[in-house]
Amino acid sequence: MSKFDFVFKGVSVFCAALVLIIVCGMFIELVRSSALSFHYFGFKFFISSEWNPVTQQFGALTSIYGTLVSTMIAMLIAVPLSLVIALFLVELAPPKVSQIIGVAIELLAAIPSIIYGMWGLFVFAPFMADHVQPLLGKAGGNLPFFKGPPMGIGMLTAGIIIALMILPFISSVTRDVFEMVPKVVKESAYGVGATTWEVTKKVTIRYGLKGVIGAAFLGLGRALGETMAVTFVIGNDHSISSSLFAAGNSIASTLANEFTEASEPMYLSSLIELGLALYVITFIVQLFAHWWLARVQKAAGSGL
């Protein structure tokens, strides 16, 4: 091995190591910087809903609640929708149409979060306030979810926008999973006279359902950490309300809004602890998604 070869290999090993170092370093740094708040509040941090920078009392519950609720709304919309879109693109649409619509859906993922925020705050939220929320309020009757004044911003709007943002991720992974279904199996179904829908239902979905779960978890990881768009439309209020029309906040939006204002060490440390919580949650969700998808791929690879 020549000298330069040795250097070249050394540099590439080091650069690869950097990836590992960053992932571990991030965890260590977040734990270190949140130690102050963790020692002071302990586990109470995660069950207290008090968030008061003046009295230096911090609890993560409202942010965690907001993250969970907005993510849940997003998943409820995005998972079925992207499942159907993936089926459309793989099975039902003519190839030319499928290609064009496929690119359009992928471009949804290319639009930066902040643009979704602008559109959400100035276009979509007023639309929700004027057209959708009054309708839901009427249709919802006595349900607690659709109570309160239709302000446009709030949990529901945030959830819908997150749904749009994770839609392309889930549908593209779902699409890949559906495309892994062996052609022979589909063709045999067509051969015995099944219609496209019957093939889709009885072959593709049955084959790909496991993959869809992995795809959904990948989308979930994204949804949990979605920041700018949510910050624009969620309302940024440290409160818990059963109404989806009410303003709230999420972990990411609290960080985006308050981080630069946090002058006291305890305030900053509490915010970093929020960040740590988000990091750990998304890490676990992703871990599961990758493990699950690898398993599905392996099963598909071994054929029938």
Binding site: I22, F88, I101, I114, T227
Partner: protein
């Protein structure tokens, strides 16, 4: 299969086709709606002074975001240089040396995890790492935060693209007596170059719209970016600050900046796709 008439089955098929088509249209419609609004509202804010002047206080006419445009360019270019160099070397390791070794697999795993880490967490990390010890925000920290976001994307696409290069090519170069690094840089890189460029472009498109990691690192500034060792003006944080302000002329400027960001991100993204498609056609 249950006993059903041919008619019913055909009808179900049709209904499902229409419904799924409608679902796909929801996505296309959302894309069109967003593009239209940003275009229609942004275009009103864009004029000559938008590109040449500094921001003005609310209520005053005129003003632009020239400093933020320059700042975003500098930060993005710096992040790209860092991210591409480190990311490509990491990719070279994975494809050429690491292969199936446990160390390579753990790097791959870490890269996948890093790719899905919320960008705001990367911002918090760089804040704790660089801004806190230095006691001030800096453009450098912003560039590093963006580079960290690019790193795993570049590393994984580099690996994928290099894996597409047939081994026979490497072997023939090695047989001619070329050292390993030369084989990698002038044979493997050369035949994978379109793919590599696509990966870089997609990564650039991804970070140039990022806001969250810049909020706590580069922050923002109303002045020209004379040094990166302090708060540095940039477009995305400007959009956030201006949009959240109650002043309509500031909100107007936020729309202009949104249009600029959206056009550049989509242009880079779409050209990357064309590039890659052209390559695939050539290969096929």
């Amino acid at each position: 299969m249950r006993n059903r008439s041919h008619r019913t089955r055909q009808l179900t098929d049709l209904i499902v086709r229409v419904l799924s088509g409608m679902a796909a249209m929801v996505g296309v419609f959302a894309l069109g709606w967003i593009l239209y609004e940003v275009l229609a509202r942004g275009i009103r804010a864009i004029n000559f002074s938008f590109f040449t002047e500094l921001p003005v206080p609310p209520g005053m006419p005129g003003g632009g975001l020239a400093n933020a445009i320059v700042g975003t360019l500098i930060i993005t270019i710096m992040a790209t240089v860092l991210g591409v160099i480190i990311g490509m070397f990491a990719g070279v390791y994975l494809a050429e040396y690491g292969k199936d070794r446990p160390y390579a697999n753990s790097v791959r795993f870490a890269a996948n995890m890093l790719m899905g880490t919320p960008s705001i967490i990367i911002g918090v990390f760089v804040y704790a790492l660089m801004v806190l010890p230095a006691h001030h925000f800096s453009g450098y920290a912003g560039a590093i935060a963006l580079a960290i976001i690019m790193l795993p994307v570049i590393a994984r696409t580099t690996e994928d693209m290099m894996n597409l290069v047939p081994n026979a090519l490497r072997e023939s170069a090695l047989a001619l007596g070329a050292p390993r690094w030369k084989v990698t840089t002038s044979v493997v890189f050369k035949s994978a170059k379109t793919g590599l460029l696509t990966g870089v472009l997609l990564a650039v498109a991804r970070v140039s719209g990022e806001t969250a990691p810049l909020l706590f690192t580069a922050l923002n500034s109303p002045y020209w970016p004379k040094t990166l060792n302090g708060p540095t003006a940039n477009l995305t944080v400007s959009i956030f600050n201006y949009a959240m302000s109650p002043y309509s002329n500031w909100q107007q400027i936020a729309w202009g900046a949104s249009l600029l960001i959206m056009i550049s991100v989509l242009a880079v993204n779409i050209s990357a796709r064309f590039l890659f498609r052209g390559e695939k056609d050539n290969a096929g």
